[in-house]
């Protein structure tokens, strides 16, 4: 299909708008329509599996100029990473719609509209290959989520939603300036104004600039992840959001942060992320341990699940900054796992909340006697969340821990892996303890006596999750074989650029460089040929290291150690713009 991605983005938007024309009372009709639309969107997105992901390149690319004066285009594509995130997003929507049938009592039309608008913006953010388009979708996500929490949320919903909004907005404000800065640097190099990610990715900025821009991006993404200590909005937002909102928030929105690191922050600013990676990994570790411990202490099941998200996403972040193929792939896999299992946990909490209108653990006990099926499903999901072998959680956590253990860029990688492993144990502790306290023991509270077990509707939206848990746990290969090429490509690009930045920095890297990726030839025609200015004679090709050179592990070359013969020249004449020809001959100067 020619415009598959556009279709996938537009279907939710159009159906959401169509929903606004339903009469307010027609609840059943609206839900039937919403189910049909969301399932249609899901089946449509299954078409993405037909792409060729073996090379790790972007598939189904579409590009239409939008605001030519600013070099902004509607530019979308999916690779092996986004493929699964998109599928996760589309598979969750029908589940969320179905789960909201009883929970949302008033203004159903507007609620469904918000859900569909949110869906469009999330899909757009995952698929966008234009930084500006990404930012537009990224900001657009805020509004529907803000409404969902603020209108259909719990008691303290307004506090929670305003906090959510402001937190996220703070992060993205600085990212916006960073994007503009990047674009202006690119324009300085090529005289082309473009927001295209594929082209901007080729700029190697001076280290000091990279630091600032990376920090601006990282702040935005870290708030979304959320990385400790920026997580404080999350428990509030989760606790107050309606079930559907929580599922999407945990299932997809948080992935935006990790995805942003993987797609944007790391490849764009490799040197800075190389330098700051260990720090972020440590923060992720703190998040894992801290999140688990705090989760253990919670009295409210939903808050517990929310804090467990902090821990789970800590794993994802750790995997990203280990920069090992296994860890990266595991990290992407763990994003999906977390989407499935935490989404399921929120659904299950919603099930019990609809019956008892409380989520306090102390109110329950012995539920397995009255709701055996519910208890069984809950235990399965718990095991997945804990990472028991044969469930999906195991695969992701195992790959991350393995990759971290062997990581060459993290200092003390083995110890880090060990600390992270304690997170797995703590996860088992808090999850199993909540199962114990809620489902087993004596049925003390008389109000729990007459609870009904899962209804057909609840089964319907729980079964896909259960199936996914086992499929992803037992047969991870179809997933991983599509993830890995993209991850590998990203890693190579990242390491080469980080290395290039380090190799070049002593010589000339006071100003940005343009660097063509070997794999990027497809997009060369889009950019006008960059001005290839030869390097100054004195520097010669030696200024750029020939061929791949393994990164200096652990101990990086300090910037101050200038190899002999490569002292920084006085900055006259202005700046050599080293352009490595795309032919792969990495010599630099012609």
């Amino acid at each position: 299909m020619a415009h598959l991605l556009t279709l996938i983005i537009l279907v939710p938007l159009v159906s959401g708008l169509a929903l606004l024309f339903f009469p307010a009372g027609a609840k059943r009709a609206m839900y039937v329509f919403a189910m049909a639309a969301s399932l249609g969107g899901f089946f449509l997105s299954m078409g993405l599996l037909g792409g060729d992901y073996t090379q790790g390149q972007f598939q189904f690319v579409e590009r239409v100029s939008w605001i030519p004066d600013f070099g902004i285009s509607y530019f979308v594509g999916v690779d092996g990473i986004t493929l699964w995130l998109v599928l996760l997003t589309t598979v969750l929507l029908p589940i969320v719609v179905l789960s909201s049938y009883e929970y949302i009592k008033d203004r159903i039309r507007e609620y469904l509209f918000s859900l569909f608008l949110l869906q469009t913006s999330m899909l757009g953010a995952f698929m966008a290959l234009d930084m500006f388009l990404f930012f537009v979708f990224w900001e657009l996500m805020l509004v529907p989520m803000y409404l969902i929490i603020g209108i259909w949320g719990g008691e303290r919903r307004i506090y929670a939603t305003v906090k959510f909004f402001i937190y996220t907005m703070v992060g993205s404000a600085l990212m916006f300036v960073a994007i503009l800065y990047l674009v202006s640097e690119f324009k300085g190099l090529t005289d082309v104004t473009t927001f295209s990610y594929l082209e901007l990715r080729r700029v190697i900025l001076p280290p000091a600039v990279q630091w600032w821009l990376f920090l601006a991006f990282a702040l935005s993404f870290a708030i979304k992840v959320p990385l400790w200590p920026l997580h404080t909005w999350l428990p509030d937002a989760h606790t107050e959001a309606p079930t559907g909102g929580s599922v999407i928030l945990a299932g997809v929105l948080l992935k935006m942060g990790t995805y942003g690191f993987l797609r944007f922050a790391m490849p764009l600013f490799p040197h800075a992320s190389h330098e700051l990676g260990p720090t972020i990994a440590v923060l992720a570790l703190v998040g894992i341990v801290f999140g688990s411990l705090v989760a253990w202490m919670q009295k409210d099941v939903k808050k517990l699940v929310a804090y467990s998200s902090v821990a789970h996403l800590g794993f994802c972040m750790l995997g990203l900054f280990a920069v090992e193929n296994r860890a990266l792939a595991g990290s992407v896999y763990q994003m999906l796992n977390h989407g499935v299992s935490t989404g399921m946990l929120f659904l299950l909490v919603g099930v019990i909340y609809e019956r008892r209108h409380t989520r306090l653990i102390s109110e329950f006990g012995g539920l397995a006697k009255v709701m055996p099926a519910y208890a069984a499903v809950f235990v399965i999901v718990t095991l997945s969340s804990v990472g028991l072998p044969t469930t999906n959680g195991f695969v992701g956590e195992f790959l991350i821990l393995w990759g971290t253990f062997t990581s060459k860029v993290l200092p003390h990688a083995r110890y880090m892996a060990m600390v992270a492993a304690t997170g797995v144990i703590l996860g088992a502790v808090y999850m199993l303890s909540v199962v114990l306290r809620v489902f087993f023991g004596a049925l003390k509270n008389p109000r729990n006596r007459d609870l009904t077990d899962l209804t057909a509707r609840e089964w319907l939206y729980l079964i896909p999750g259960i199936v996914l848990i086992f499929v992803m746990g037992l047969f991870p290969t179809p997933f991983l074989e599509r993830i890995e090429p993209s991850v590998e490509l990203m890693r190579m690009d990242y390491l080469q650029k980080a290395e290039k930045a380090m190799g070049v920095e002593q010589a000339v890297l006071a100003e940005p460089l343009l660097y063509l990726l070997p794999g990027d030839r497809r997009f060369e025609s889009i950019v006008a040929a960059p001005r290839a200015v030869p390097l100054p004679k004195k520097l010669g090709p030696a200024g750029l290291p020939k061929g791949p050179r393994p990164l200096t592990l652990g101990k990086r070359t300090p910037i101050s150690q200038v190899p002999p013969g490569m002292e920084r020249k006085p900055k006259q004449p202005p700046l050599p713009q080293a352009v490595i020809p795309a032919t792969g001959a990495q010599g630099g100067a012609p």
Binding site: P68, F70, F176, L180
Partner: protein, 507 residues
């Protein structure tokens, strides 16, 4: 036809419209109730110092005024799109109608159109005599348009005063309300001071250069003359006068009172048209007369001063808006903050003149549309027979009137700068120029300031959609007025169009 006449046709149209309305109004009103009653009634009548309006003619006047202004806007837009004026049509060195001026014409006329559309129902509710309201507004608009095109200090001052006098009258138009009078007096006194200061500055510049056109001053100052102390003093005084007009901190003191006291359409007019005209002329003045490096650049040039003013304005405006309980006051402070963002664009003119000017114009456009839309809804809101201006009164407004509530939310989110609405692209235009001219720190500060503004903008959305009013209390209802609805729809479409398809305007 004469090229000059064609170039000036939008202004002439507005002036002719105003004169025609005054004339016809005088003929139509029976019993000697002429449009001149503005001054007479204040002196002679008792507790209700104005004549009851002629209710029959109410819808007509607003429509007439709106259509004349809309025609002027369409005319200028056509000329702008069609590139009728080329490099610009100069008229005796006093006026220059170029693309910048035409865009300014269009924005001024557009702001006037939206203000007229929201006026009829508002003035009806207020029982005010609108016989004078529209002509005054149109004449002020003609002043604003002249200001956009003026290239000599004489014309500049005359146009500025035409605009200001009109706006003073509009501010004090609610004669029964002490707030309105207070606002008008404050605005008038401070405005008169500012004009005097401005004139003083102009005198210094004239004395030093012997030229009264912007060009002439620019030429005279291009050499070493630019660093003479009196020139600096003159420039500083002119800058203060203009900073007052755009209500930059610390010259903003009049703004909240005048905005709160003025009739809501006049507030919208002030926030939109006056700002547009002042910024357009500010850019023209600085970019032609005062571009000499010693005058523009650091350490004491206008760019540095404006940069400091800009940061102060953004933060002060937003911080003060956080504390407001009255929606008009809040929007007043928010308009101060917007002036701060726009000043960033003006500052980046020193490096990238063209891009900065077009960025500022685009920002003004997006701001004008969203602001006028928000004010229209405020002007429509009535509670218990009186205006509803307290933010708390809007509890549940969005629930009861979802369409108007959604439109209001869109206007506010656009002003906040959230994509895909217009305001975001305005911010993009300004901040990307700022970053490209090396002012990234200002862009960062601007974004931080706009995050602060998120709190009060979404605060209104929270009140409208997420809070219920107490049982038994009177609720805010919108007046039924086709014209006001038309203004809302028009502004809404503009906000969407400018956001989703900004290209025709940007290129």
């Amino acid at each position: 036809m004469n090229a000059n006449l064609i170039a000036l046709s939008p202004i002439l149209l507005v002036v002719a419209g105003a004169a025609g309305m005054l004339f016809v109004d005088a003929l139509l009103q029976k019993g000697g109730k002429t449009a001149g009653s503005l001054f007479r009634s204040v002196n002679s009548k008792g507790p209700r110092p104005f004549d009851p309006p002629d209710r029959e003619s109410i819808p007509n006047r607003g429509i007439v005024s709106a259509s004349v202004l809309a025609a002027a806007a369409v005319l200028s837009a056509t000329m702008w799109f069609g590139d009728f004026v080329g490099e610009g049509v100069g008229i005796t060195g006093a006026l220059l109608v170029d693309r910048l001026a035409l865009f300014g014409f269009m924005l001024c006329a557009l702001g006037g159109t939206l203000a007229s559309l929201m006026s009829s129902s508002y003035l009806y509710e207020l029982d005010a005599d609108e016989g004078q309201f529209y002509p005054v507004m149109m004449l002020a608009t003609s002043g604003a348009m002249l200001l956009c095109a003026s290239t000599s200090f004489v014309m500049f001052f005359v146009a500025l005063e035409t605009l200001s006098l009109g706006v003073y009258i509009l501010t004090g138009f609610r004669r029964a309300s002490p707030l309105s009078t207070e606002g008008a007096v404050k605005y008038f006194l401070l405005g008169a001071f500012a004009s005097a200061i401005l004139l003083f500055g102009i005198a210094f510049l004239y004395g030093e250069t012997g030229a009264h056109t912007f060009d002439g001053v620019g030429k005279a100052l291009s050499g070493s003359a630019s660093s003479r102390p009196l020139v600096m003093l003159g420039m500083g005084l002119v800058l203060v006068g203009l900073a007052f007009k755009v209500s930059a901190v610390p010259f903003h003191m009049w703004t909240p009172d005048a905005y709160q006291g003025a009739p809501t359409p006049a507030t919208s007019y002030m926030a939109g048209v006056v700002k547009v005209a002042a910024f357009v002329t500010m850019m023209r003045l600085f970019s032609t007369a005062l571009m000499a490096p010693a005058l523009a650049g650091p350490p004491f040039g206008w760019a540095s001063i404006l940069a400091i003013l800009s940061v102060a304005t953004m933060f002060w405006g937003n911080m003060a808006a956080l504390r407001q309980k009255n929606i008009k006051r809040m929007l007043a402070y928010s308009s101060i903050a917007h002036a701060g963002y726009i000043l960033i664009g003006v500052v980046s003119m020193i490096k990238m003149k063209e891009a900065a000017i077009s960025g500022v114009l685009y920002y003004l456009f997006t701001y004008l549309a969203a602001n006028a839309g928000a004010f229209t809804i405020v002007s429509m809101a009535v509670k218990d027979g009186a205006e509803a201006n307290e933010i708390e009164e809007y509890r549940g407004f969005g629930r009861r009137h979802p369409l108007l509530g959604a439109a209001m939310a869109v206007f506010l989110l656009s002003m906040l700068g959230l994509p895909p609405f217009a305001g975001f692209f305005g911010k993009l235009a300004i901040f990307s120029t700022a970053v490209q001219s090396g002012l990234w720190l200002m862009a960062v500060l601007g974004m931080i300031a706009s995050v602060v503004s998120a709190y009060y903008y979404i605060g209104i959305v929270v009140v409208m959609f997420m809070r219920e009013c107490e049982e038994g209390q009177p609720v805010v209802v919108p007046v039924r007025s086709g014209q006001a609805i038309a203004a809302v729809i028009f502004a809404f479409l503009l906000v969407l169009q400018l956001g989703l398809f900004p290209n025709p305007w940007l290129s």
